[in-house]
Symmetry: D2
Subunit: 303 residues, 4 copies
């Protein structure tokens, strides 16, 4: 194996040397105000070793990355029945597009676009009070990460509630097709809150260990399901940039508009990277570049 | 002129002889429960004479027909500036489609589809309390109809608020493009309430007299604007069945899902027809048939 | 009646005084090379009087305006059966859009968008040799115009055949849904040729007299059908600018990318206007402005 | 390693025991007439060993599977410049959809949907005579397969030319955006011919060996490019069923409407499977099932 600590140190240096940081998400003030010139990466290998570089102790809003965990929980609760409510195909359109939803009568294309994640959140909610569903989601992530010090940023959740008109539109649109089991406002409240979770790259990489499917790693779901989550992350994990990410990086991953990406090298590594500036697909610009470089240097492409 | 009272009497008989009444709107219980086997028509000619047949004293929910009045008010308040917020083209899709709204970045195609009427309602609301905007709308219609006995059915408005997920989706979608000036819930509240107005065909035909543009009729807006409202009713007044209505009936009209249609013969007549069963475009089935027959018999096509 | 000769003379002066001529169609060299600073108008009133101003003896490519005549012929041959192959609704999209055709499985929205006109041409072709169908179309138009001196510009037809990839795409797309009865190349050949007819505004206004539905005018089709053609021209005659034309001008009309417009004032006048520069909808810029002015001055709006 | 010969023998037996063979492609007579009750599989492992079961000596029309080879050739000729003409994202719609092409102005989403493969064929054609481009394509495949006995079925190519209206529509649509460098008919002729290549599963599996990226396998393109082709096959290789295939099977593959699938286990195996009946996505029904079973039994998922 190449010298991972050196690679990460060099990666951190290289990333910071380039002035093009991309643009942070600007749809809520809490995310728009962030300093884009930040970068962090943490890699955990199959033997449990943890390697980090950059701002790896800074907490950031994980946003859509939680869709991986809520999907794992929803599949655990409902099994393959979940797939009657949401598909498994790349969407071919932007993460918040509503067009597909009209054409396909309220069944979102996959659980990683917003509409699909609202449906999986609705499945997890299951008639409970939002705080109970949130407790389950947070506990799942804390267990995965092996850390109790993971929390929801209430200001971010409140701001999403206030400014998230597109998500309200998606939820009500789903409801108009009877695609939600809970009142849209309750499902959305749960959704906004789990998206507002904050983690460091160290915590996020820890929380992804169970997706390595490796012998000594935490086993939260079956190996078959681990593989399927990875497959979904590869085909749908980066919105309408998923094909490009697969082509250039070649490993499963899930991005969030907070600038984080959780990437998995099956059997070998769990990687968390963070840099708040986004590329035109809405995925972390430097995060994507760093993963492309690292995957090439480590020969980690699954292809 | 043909013998209008006899024509209307025969029309009423013919319409009731045919068992195919269409299907009432079923998206809210208040409309779904109605007996479809009802029919009413009122014609007011340019000399002010009123001719009716059928259930012309039964009140029904005028629904989208109020979009004509709110448009007249919005144009009165804002003039042609309104057209920066909403277009004047037929939509080429269903009345509640959201696809066009995504493609055209939050600018509805015309003021008679739901999204467009939400925007004109938002223009009328103009930062006021909903009850003040509603007072203006109701007063405009009462003045047009020459009757104070026109009221909002609060149960219908409440039911729309509870079940109108598609309209909530449209409003939040508009808000996500900054296409609303007021909070979506306030604009929608105003919208649901003016759609819940109830009238008889007699009242509705009276309220449409100003659109005849005739000498002795009430003059609420300029003649130029009357013509333009009629043009919009002809091209966009029956959702995605507007072309068919123009082809078969040949006069401007605006339908509502309550089964009413207000139709105008420029210079000659204001017609209100009502039958709650709808055709596949969401327009009154018998109402459309009756207007086609009447326009042919009276030689009222504008073409 | 206002003094029509004076109005037209002034209109011609006004139009030429403004430097904004719009942009001629540029998809084939034969149309792109034209001098945009040209304007002609001819009005024929119900008494048969002919009034012209500007370049009324200059021949221009009538292009899509022939769709009105092929539709009249197709309806004459097949009656209402034609409507199983093509709709009567405004398209809500550009004249050459293929999206609607996929969504609605090969049935064009109306006979005035390209796909719809290809279908009506296919109906007129009816298994014959293209030259026989063309002979019928040209003869219909010559009879309507009362002039044998109307001809197809073969160079324009050939250029369309060479450059008309979008129309080839539409024809083959229709064929893939079994929506054409003749081989696509034969239907398209016929289509390109009738679109390449050339007329002066005088000839074009003459050819539209039968659409006035007036007593002393040539009667080529039934009065009921005249009305329906006018209705279609009003709702669909200016592509995705039809609503705007109805709103601003208020009379039925059909435009062509050659810069011509044929407009009808039912019972009163047939108008041909020409100026080769187009507006953003692909309709003659000055032609539309001139018709708006004239309709207002003559009080000719049908609304 | 599990006992591959036994697994394949059992797989062959299991597949034949189930009567649900799916439906062969029916858009051309040459494919529609085939007996669906056929099944073949060939696996070649990284040591070069060849294992087969079923009708592995029957030639079938490989159809879209050749898109992998033409893409490899196009990338070899033009490098990353190719990506200015075609994207790398899953399409989110059917293999022959034209909607995306209008929305994205003539740039197909990926090289494995029809429009994209027409563009890569156009790139390979590069101004040459079709037979010269075809010679290069056929030679590439023969070299990859290590067999000169691979030929084009001229009857199938001719039938595609006669019935392939959808592909003509796509090609002319591309041409209307200036997205083709060669005349549409020449590009399409080349496209129809390479799709009409016939192979046995043995030949097809041989031809895919270079995509294993394994040490002792033929090396026709760089390792980096092998990985990228595999990534594209995983995200886009099964049209709008790609996500499902990735989820259920978990290895890169490319299907053809002739019922063949070429699947690659990076570093480990090249697999060809064939059964002419298709599932609802247009991919081989039994072929997909067989690969799902085999990948699970052999633990070959890349996730």
């Amino acid at each position: 194996m190449a010298d991972l600590p050196t690679l990460l140190r060099n990666l951190n240096t290289t990333m910071r040397a380039d002035d093009n940081w991309g643009t942070p998400a600007n749809y809520i003030p809490e995310l728009a105000g962030i300093n884009p010139a930040q970068f962090a990466i943490t890699v955990i290998t199959a033997d449990g070793a943890v390697y980090s570089a950059g701002d790896c102790d800074t907490r950031f809003s994980v946003q859509s990355i939680t869709k991986v965990f809520t999907l794992a929980i929803a599949l655990g609760r409902s099994g393959d029945q979940l797939w009657s409510r949401v598909g498994r195909e790349p969407s071919g359109s932007a993460f918040n597009s509503i067009v597909q939803l009209e054409r396909e009568q309220g069944r979102p294309r996959n659980p990683f676009i917003n509409a699909g994640a609202i449906v999986t959140t609705d499945e997890v909610l299951a008639g409970r009070a939002p705080r109970d569903a949130l407790a389950e989601i947070v506990q799942f992530i804390r267990t995965a990460a092996g850390s109790e010090d993971i929390h929801i940023n209430e200001a971010v959740a409140a701001s999403e509630t206030q400014h998230g008109h597109r998500n309200f539109a998606l939820a009500h649109f789903l409801a108009s097709f009877d695609s939600l089991k809970n009142p849209p406002d309750m499902t959305l409240g749960t959704y906004f809150h789990h998206c507002a979770l904050e983690m460091t790259t160290t915590q996020l990489a820890q929380s992804g260990r169970f997706l390595m499917g490796a012998a000594n790693m935490p086993k939260l779901i079956s190996t078959a399901r681990v593989r399927r989550l990875n497959a979904l992350m590869l085909t749908c994990g980066h919105y309408d940039g998923s094909g490009d990410f697969a082509y250039r990086v070649g490993i499963p991953g899930k991005s969030g508009v907070g600038g984080g990406i959780l990437a998995i090298v099956p059997g070998k590594a769990s990687i968390a990277v963070w840099s708040p500036g986004l590329n035109r697909y809405g995925n972390s610009h430097k995060g994507t570049e760093a993963l492309a470089t690292l995957a090439r240097q480590m020969n980690w492409s699954i292809f």
